[in-house]
Each structure stands twice: as structure tokens, then as C-alpha cells.
């Protein structure tokens, strides 16, 4: 999937999960830049992403995703 299309699909999910209507989805975005990104919201995010792209992550995949760039690469590998 093209990056632009993926960002377009991910943006509303991120904004909804983290409660920030101005959040911009970039490769570098990670839990370090978003105050409300904690272990709780992280799992809600994972679930929403899985539903949106109809994919299934493995527990191992979670540790490999250090930022949104990693997440997008992971999603692409599963499509």
C-alpha cells in the first residue's frame, strides 16, 4: 500500500485513540512524542489498526514497532 494512503487511513485512528484532533501521523511519531500514548492506549491502537487493515499482529511484532514508520512497514508486510 502506498504510504500516503496508509497515513490517510491511520490518521483518524490515531486522533481518536489519543484524543488529539490535530495529531499528524509521521514516520518518527512514537510514544515518546504523544503524552496520552501509554500501555493502555497502545493496545487500543493495535486493535483499531488490525481491524482497519484486516490483519493480525503477533505478540513478537509489537516489540519490533518502535515508531509509526516501523508500524507502517509491519502493516505492509502483512497485507
Amino acid at each position: 500500500m502506498e504510504k500516503e494512503e496508509m497515513v490517510k487511513k491511520l490518521t483518524p485512528i490515531f486522533r481518536n485513540v489519543f484524543g488529539d484532533e490535530t495529531l499528524e501521523v509521521t514516520d518518527e511519531l512514537s510514544a515518546l512524542n504523544v503524552a496520552s500514548w501509554d500501555s493502555l492506549s497502545h493496545m487500543l491502537l493495535i486493535t483499531e489498526v488490525e481491524n482497519q487493515f484486516t490483519i493480525k499482529f503477533k505478540l513478537k511484532d509489537l516489540n519490533k514497532m518502535k515508531n509509526v514508520g516501523d508500524m507502517m512497514a509491519m502493516i505492509n508486510s502483512k497485507l
Binding site: 496520552s36 501509554d38 487500543l44 493495535i46 488490525e50 513478537k60
Partner: protein
Amino acid sequence: MTFTSLNFLIFFPLLALCYFITPVKYRLYTLLAGNYFFYINVKPVYALLLAGITLCTYYFTRQIQKNDKESIKKIYLIINIILILLPLFFFKYFSKVNDFFFSALNSIHIRWPLPDIKLLLPIGISFYTFMSIGYIIDVYNEEIEAEENIGVVAAFTSFFPLLLSGPIERAKNMLPQFKQLKQPDYNSIFQAMKLILWGYFMKLVIADRIGIYVDIVFANSGHHTGRTLLLASILYPFQVYADLGGYSLIAIGTAGLLGFKVMLNFNRPFFATSIAELWRRWHISLITWLTDYVYTPLTFTFRKYKMRGIILALMITFIISGIWHGAALTFLVWGFIQGIYLSIEALTSKRRMQFEKKYNLRKKGWYIFLEIVVVFILFAASQVIGRAENMATAFNIYHRIFSVSGPLFIGDAPSILIYSIIGLLMLLIKDFTDEFAPSQMQFFNNKRKSVRIMAYATIAILILLIGVFDGGQFIYFKF
């Protein structure tokens, strides 16, 4: 051998000397020998257990690494975890299980006296068990590679500063340090000494002094007034913080003197503005361990249930944490209460955030102060259950706090309370300035050398003058 014993004050400089005069190539083995000497001094037979757990961890992590088949890796992982957990379960829960079967049989009129084995929990078993399990899971999850050198693995599982009460370190952080031993520089030695000094202050001046008062009051809670029980309940969380926090600082500092960097275990917990934040600041190494190896796999498994799944995972994680603290109903309830607190916060977090944003509350001092106070009260209330001998005593303490009037118990020596409060105030002032004004009001990092020297001298003198040198053990040794 504990950090506050004379033996340790002899052992550590000798070990450090041997360590640094050994050629770098063999230094790891000097450290390893020192680690085992330290543990053998606690009780020789325990060292066999530690060696067994280490061998088991080494063998299975190598097998996990070598095999390509996911199913076989998983089998090795499960076998290894079970084998490592068995001793912990045996030592920690055997007597309780024994008692349970005895009373169960007794209730149906079968008197079958099972052998009454009162086992002493090997000190530190939880901590090196958890460190080993973390390592195995990290290898399984391909976070790190299984170490080839058994000496490195053995040095990690037996590293003496962390052996008895943590911090529960991760292989990811420690193995590279054992593989490439570093010589500490002047600055890190200085920083390490500072941590050790403050750690001893927290333990000897604050924790053990408060402990005297808290122990007297909780031992006879049925005879004390509400005011006294309230004060002891307020003091107890500070005692635990100063005890384990102080221990952790000595551990981090001791490791630092040998050139190792160890994770922080407490981060000014009583300035947390939510229970979730408190648990990110309190016993950090245990909580991050539980988050990574219990909570995250659970939330991942329950993720299709969304918020309900998260709450279930929170409850299970904290109940496990409670049971780990002890096989008693009080600890189970304690864990359950933490789970309830966190679940309520999780359920209301979005609405709270919106409310705070609307009224710009996060920038208002009074609101933050209010949150800090509420979080402390909730935590202290739950700690009463963790501290009480049983649930009936805990309820009785709550009841008496609100119903029994009378004077505050001072005891024969008012100095106990006075010294406790002096120490506590110093701790709070230090934590307060570090939290809210890190660049101002500095004592230990002041630009002026005279202020720094005065600060260190004051702490050292206070340790010698009002430190409790015949105090009890560290609270977390029993876990």
C-alpha cells in the same frame, strides 16, 4: 550479608580491589566469584539453587536460539519457565498449600497430619528468577540473542548488587555490559557515591526509624487511637519507599562503582498525580517487568474485547503482583484494589483529560496538589491491607481511625517520631525540588563547592547520629 552489615563494608572494597587489579580479560570471573561468595555468605545451599537456575536458563536459551521451528522454541520456552518457577513456588507457597490440604481434610474429618515443613524462602529467589525469565522471553521474542558465554549469563543472574532485592534488571541492558566491562570514570564514581550515601540515609535514618514506630503501632493496632493509627498508616508508605528505594540506590551505586549502569527503581513516587503514574514511579523494575511479561501478553490476548480486555488484564496482573508479595488474603486484596484503582482510571481517562483541558487544570498548582494528595491517600489506604496481619485487623484499623478518639501515641522515646519527621522532611524537600525545581535550590548539585560539601557532610553526620544501625532487614528480602 546485607548492604547495612559490617561484612558488606569489608567485602565490597576488597572485591572492588580484586576486580580492578585483575586483568580485564579475567575480570568477569573475579566478579562471578565475588557474586557467589556474597550469596554463599547468605546461605551456602542457596548458591546451588542459583547455579541451577542459571544453568537451566543458559541451556534453554541456547536451544531456543538454535531451533528454527516456532513450535519447538515455544516448548523450550514453556519448559524453561516452568522449571525456573518451580523452586519459587515451592519455597513460597508449599507451606500454605500444605496448610490448606490439612484443613480441607480436617473439615471432612480426616486427620492426616502432612509433614509440617516450614521452608525458609531463599533470599533473592524472586529477583533472579524474574531476571532469568525476562531473559528467556526476550530471546524467544528475538529481542536479544542467546549468550554463548555461560560466564556472562552467570554473572548476570548472580550480580551481587541486584541479587537480594533488585532492581530486576533486563538482559538487554546488562549482558552487553558484562561482555564489555567498563572502567568507571571519575564522574560516574562520584555519582555512584552520592547514590550510596543517599541510599543509606533513606534506609538507616528514615526507613528503619519510621519502622520502629510503625511496627509498634501495627503490632497492637487494637489498642491504639484513631490518630495514632492514621499517623502510622501515613508513615508506612514512606517507610517502604525509603526501605526499598534506599536499598535500590545502594545497589545502583555499588554497581556504578564497578562501572555498571543499572536502571532506576523509584522516581519520586509520592508526586504522582494518578495511580497509573504512581505505578510508573514506584518499584519501576518490577512494574515494567510485569508490564512486559504479564500485562502486555494478556492485553494482547484479550484485545478483541477492547477496554474490557484491558481491565481484565490489569486485574490479573495486579492480583499476580499481590500473590507474589505473599500467599495471604491481604496481599490478594491489595492487588485487587490496585487493579480496581487502575481500571477506574482507565475507564475515566478520556473524560478526565477533556475536563482538565477545558478548565486548563493541568497548569493549576492547587489541582496538581489535590491530585497528589488524593493519590497518596488511596495508596496509603491500600497499603494498610498489605501491612496488616489479616483482613479483620485491616478493617479494624480503618474502623478505629474514624471512630476511636484519644491522644497520639508517642511512646517512651519521643525521639523516634522527631527523628522520623526530620528525615522524612528532608526526603520530601529533596524529592520536591528534584520534581518541581530541578535547576533551583540544589544542594547536592549546587554550583558552589562549599554548599555541596555541606550537603554531603550533613547527610553523613545525620546517618551516623540518628541512623538506626541495629534495625531490621530490608522489607523486600522476604519477597
